[in-house]
Structure formats: C-alpha cells, structure tokens
C-alpha cells in the first residue's frame, strides 16, 4: 500500500504532518533537538514572544495537579530582538515551518511586534495569544471579550501579511462568539485551547502553591473541554482549526482531527516524553496505514454526530 499522506495546509503554511509543538512547552525547538527529529513534525511554535524582554513571575511557577499541571510562567521571554539574534539562527537550520506565538499587554505592542515579525522570512506564520491582560483597560483579558479580541486581531491583521492564527482562551462562556469575532477580524486560522485558569493550595503552608496564586491548567485533565470547544468552533467557522489540550498520543490527536481540527499541538506531553510530538505524528501515520486511509484529510471533521 502507498504511504498515507499526512500533509495539511494551514492558510498557506504547508505542514508535512498535522503535529506541531505548543507554545511555551517546547522552548525554541533547540532544547528538544537531541530527543527527536525536528524534521519529522509539522511545525514548531515558539514560546510566547513580546516586544521587550519579559521577566515573568516569581517562583514557584509550576505545580502538578491531578492529570494535569498549572503553570504561571508569566510569559517570560527574551523579547523580539534577542529572539532574532539568539533563537532564529538555529531555527533557520531546521527544515520545518516556524510559527511565532506572540502577545502584548497593549494593543500597540501587538501591532509593533507583528510588524517586526512580518519582515522575517524565517517566520512562516504568527500565532496570536490573546489570553493576556490588557494593561490599559484595567487588566481585562483581551481573550475573554469579543470586541477586545477583534480589535487586537484586526490590528495584527493590518500589520502583517503572514498567515495569522489566533489562539483562543477557554475561560469564556461562549467560545463560538470569540471564534466568530476573531475570524471576522481577519484570523486565517484558530488554535484552541489555551490553558484553563486554576489554582493549587499548599495546606501546610496555607498558601497558594504558585507565587502568582493562579495559573493555567494544561495536560490530559483538560482534554474533554478542549475537544468540546474544537468541535463547537469547527461547526461554526470555515477557517482551519488547530486542536490543543491534553494530547498525549496519536489517538488523542486523531480525536481532535475527527472533531474538526486540521492540525494539532502537543504541549504538556513534551515534558513527559520529549519525543512526544514525533511519536504522535508517527502514530497517526501508522493509524492511517492500518486503516487504509490514504489522506489525513479524510478524517478532518469526520465525526458522525
């Protein structure tokens, strides 16, 4: 039998397979390069980038929870200039699309950053993280208000001609409204979900475990919520969807694809197994081969409800 075709396209970004690494869980690719073949995965999404270097939160920043983990890294990153100088050179040597995850604390930051990234040929696309507090509007999170989200997305849209992926926060009443707002404002694709806001407490110390008090829940625990949201959004929008949330195995990934995702991202699983993304991609290929499915596209949204 012919090898199954795993290639997919996300608004012009051609991926050899639908498995990417989730922002913040895979550094800048290099950290994991000895554990897997970076050219066997679909794309690398880099750690959330901001205009200026960002210190992030005090420690502890992570804590394990049942079936998941909380993180409150606080979006620590080197900033766009150091990214270009220190991180891009390695990524340039890898024949795999690089998608840059970015965020700002003001509208202007999003815009300025998108403009700078637009000029980098190594960057295949942008993934806009809108789960950040808008410091100018008293900390209201861009990603939980459709109007604010549309404003950010619209601005970034005008600042770049690169493929524009918007990453949705699950901490909302109506994920479909958020998705619609972002697509109307110019998103080429949507990725979901980011982390659910949670908290852990140290009984003995009578304190929150995380210095930041709350953090973002990721890992297998959130998979059912993520699957539900991907499915809901896939019924409502026509742009490609990238499914994220607790994907540990090819089976998990294929479930997201059935629910309507064109591609997926592997996040927390990278910590359990640094070669997880490659293993998931290989597992999808095996599954297609075993089931005589010629192209992964036959499974996208193939859920029968």
């Amino acid at each position: 039998m012919a090898k199954p075709d795993l290639s997919v396209e996300i608004s012009g970004i051609k991926l050899r397979n639908p498995v990417m690494t989730a922002s913040g869980t895979f550094g800048y690719g290099k950290e994991f390069s000895q554990y897997l073949d970076l050219e066997k995965i679909g794309a690398i999404i880099t750690k959330g980038l901001s205009l200026r270097p960002k210190a992030g939160n005090p420690t502890p920043r992570i804590v394990e929870t049942p079936g998941g983990m909380l993180n409150a890294i606080g979006l620590q990153n080197v900033g766009i200039d150091a990214f270009i100088q220190e991180k891009l050179p390695f990524l340039r040597t890898v024949n795999t699309p690089v998608i840059v995850n970015l965020y700002g604390n003001t509208l202007e930051e999003y815009g300025a950053l998108a403009e700078k990234l637009d000029r980098l040929p190594e960057v295949a696309g942008l993934e806009v993280n809108i789960s950040c507090p808008n410091v100018k509007q008293g900390g209201i999170v861009f990603g939980t208000d459709p109007a604010a989200a549309a404003e950010v997305v619209g601005l970034v849209r005008r600042s770049t001609s690169k493929p524009l992926i918007v990453k949705l926060s699950p901490n909302v009443t109506d994920i479909v409204r958020m998705a619609d707002a972002c697509v109307s404002a110019g998103a080429d694709a949507l990725s979901l979900i980011n982390t659910l806001t949670g908290m852990a407490i140290d009984l003995e110390k009578r304190r929150p475990v995380l210095a930041n008090v709350t953090g973002g829940l990721s890992g297998p625990a959130i998979k059912p919520v993520a699957l539900r949201m991907v499915w809901q959004v896939s019924m409502a929008v026509t742009v490609p969807i990238i499914g994220i949330g607790g994907i540990m195995s090819a089976t998990d990934a294929l479930e997201f694809i059935l629910a309507g995702a064109t591609a997926v991202q592997v996040g927390t699983a990278n910590f359990l197994d640094p070669s997880a993304a490659q293993t998931v991609a290989a597992g999808i290929e095996d599954y297609l081969a075993k089931n005589g499915i010629g192209h992964i596209k036959e499974l996208i949204g193939a859920l029968r409800v």
């Binding site: 210190a55 420690t59 992570i62 620590q76 927390t268």
Partner: protein, 271 residues
C-alpha cells in the same frame, strides 16, 4: 539522552530514604557530578510529570546476565516526600522506568591541590557522593553533613570509604554535633587555613548560609539548587532562579535545569 531503565535494586538506607540502582546505557559515564536525571515514575498520568534526582553514583558491574558480561548503572538516593517518591519506593528489581539523563551542568572540579569541602543537608548528600568519588582521586576532601536528626544523615560510611573526612551535625543532636551544619563548617574554617573550595547541596536556607560563609572567608563556592521542574531541558521556564543581574527591567533568570543545577554562588541573587 532518553532511555528505558530497569531497576536493579531499591533499598531503604535510613527510614524514609531509598537508594536505587538502575541500568543505564554506557554513554551515561560521561555524566559529571552534580548532573541529574528526570525519572518518569509510571507510564500513566498519575504522577504526570517526571521527577528530578541528582546522580548519586555511576559505574559498571560484572554480571552474567548481559551478553558482554557487564552492565552500566546509575544510582539515585532519594527521600520519600510525596506521591512520586512513594511510588518509586515501591519498585523492585526488574521494574521499568523511563529516564532522561544526564541533565544540567554539574560541579567544576577545580584545582587538585586545593582542599575540597562538601556541605550537604539531608538528601542533599546525594550528588555529593558522586562528586566526592571524583574529587577524592586527587584532592583532600571533607564532608559536612547536616540534618534534623540522625535519620537524615545518609551513607556516611560510604563517604568514609572514599577517604573523605566527615563532620556531622543534627538539629536535635542525635548524631554528631548539635546545631546547624553551617555552624560546624564555620567553626572548622575559622580554625583552619589554606585554600579551599566549597561545594554545597541542600535546602535553600542552608545554601544561603554557605554562600554567606564563602563570602566572608573569600572562598570559591558552588551550590546545587532545586526548583519545580516540568521539562528539565530549559524549555518551560518553570524552574528558574534569579541571576546576579536580575531586575524587573533587565530580567536575568537562570534555568536550574539547564544553566544549573550547580551554580557558582556569585552568579546568583541571594535575596
């Protein structure tokens, strides 16, 4: 590297403390003292994250059970504190684990001529044994070991077999001097002279005290830190500690997993 490992032995060395020997690929011998391993305790989601442990010992033993007649091993010495270490403690010969190793930056050995002073608090002794084994080949080595009580003082005989001179202090005086190990250390330093290097591993307050002592006596000093880790390879930024130049505007966070766990104490901010 990432590899599957088989438990060879797993014995309690003191109440609540275990020493586990595991198979490892021959390449593990390139590891330096102070480097660590990340253990996946179970191939399931509970516990989810890997657990970090310093390398306690490395080596090869002769056995008929492998084709080449020998087997490389690595050892950890661990304290049972929670879910992950409880499950580790229940493993037996023949059980399997998944390891990432060796990770991080270990101790720099320094000048052979210099006397080496090791300071360990509780299970902080773990990486110091591997270190002592290397250092004792060429240098005079002294170990200052501290704990709450005699149960926290681990593997002293093993250190002594290496020719290491040992000093013990416990909070309750049930073994060695009563008091803090850093007090015993400082008394020793005050009474002796000569060029020395300090190597310390243990709870943060102990490390801070050792760093203070190093400062006062103007000695080189390397400390091994702990941090809550997810990835172990510098990607998640969970484990960071503040570098000496850190400020909100010019962040200088170092990854304990990748830039450490061993740092020259001067590289860190001790506030």
């Amino acid at each position: 590297m990432q590899f599957k490992s088989m438990v060879i032995s797993n014995v309690q060395v003191s109440p609540g403390y275990f020493r586990m020997r595991m198979t490892a690929p021959p390449a593990i011998v390139a590891a330096t003292p102070g480097q660590f391993v990340m253990v996946r305790v179970r191939d399931a989601i509970d516990p989810l994250l890997r657990r970090p442990f310093g390398i306690f010992d490395l080596g090869t033993f002769t056995t008929e059970y492998t084709d080449c007649g020998r087997q490389t091993f690595c050892e950890i010495l661990y304290k049972v504190v929670g879910k992950g270490t409880e499950m580790l403690a229940s493993l037996h010969h023949g059980d399997h684990l998944d390891l990432l190793a060796p990770l991080g930056k270990g101790f720099a050995a320094g000048e052979p001529a210099e006397e080496k002073i090791l300071v360990g608090g509780g299970v902080g002794l773990a990486p110091l044994y591997f270190l002592a084994k290397e250092l004792a080949k060429t240098s005079k080595v002294r170990l200052f070991a501290g704990g709450r009580n005699k149960e926290d003082i681990l593997c002293i005989t093993e250190f002594e077999r290496l020719g290491v001179e040992t000093y013990v202090a416990t909070d309750d005086g049930t073994l060695g001097d009563q008091g803090l190990v850093t007090q015993v250390l400082e008394k020793h330093l005050a009474a002796t002279g000569g060029s020395k290097t300090l190597f310390a591993c243990g709870p943060f307050p102990m490390l801070k005290a050792v760093a203070g002592i190093a400062d006062r006596y103007n000695l080189e000093c390397q400390v091994s830190l702990e941090g809550y880790m997810a990835c172990g390879v510098g990607a998640c930024l969970g484990c960071v500690t503040k570098g000496k130049n850190h400020s909100e505007e010019t962040p200088d966070f170092r990854c304990v997993c990748k830039d450490g766990p061993v740092f020259p104490y001067r590289e860190l901010k001790w506030d």
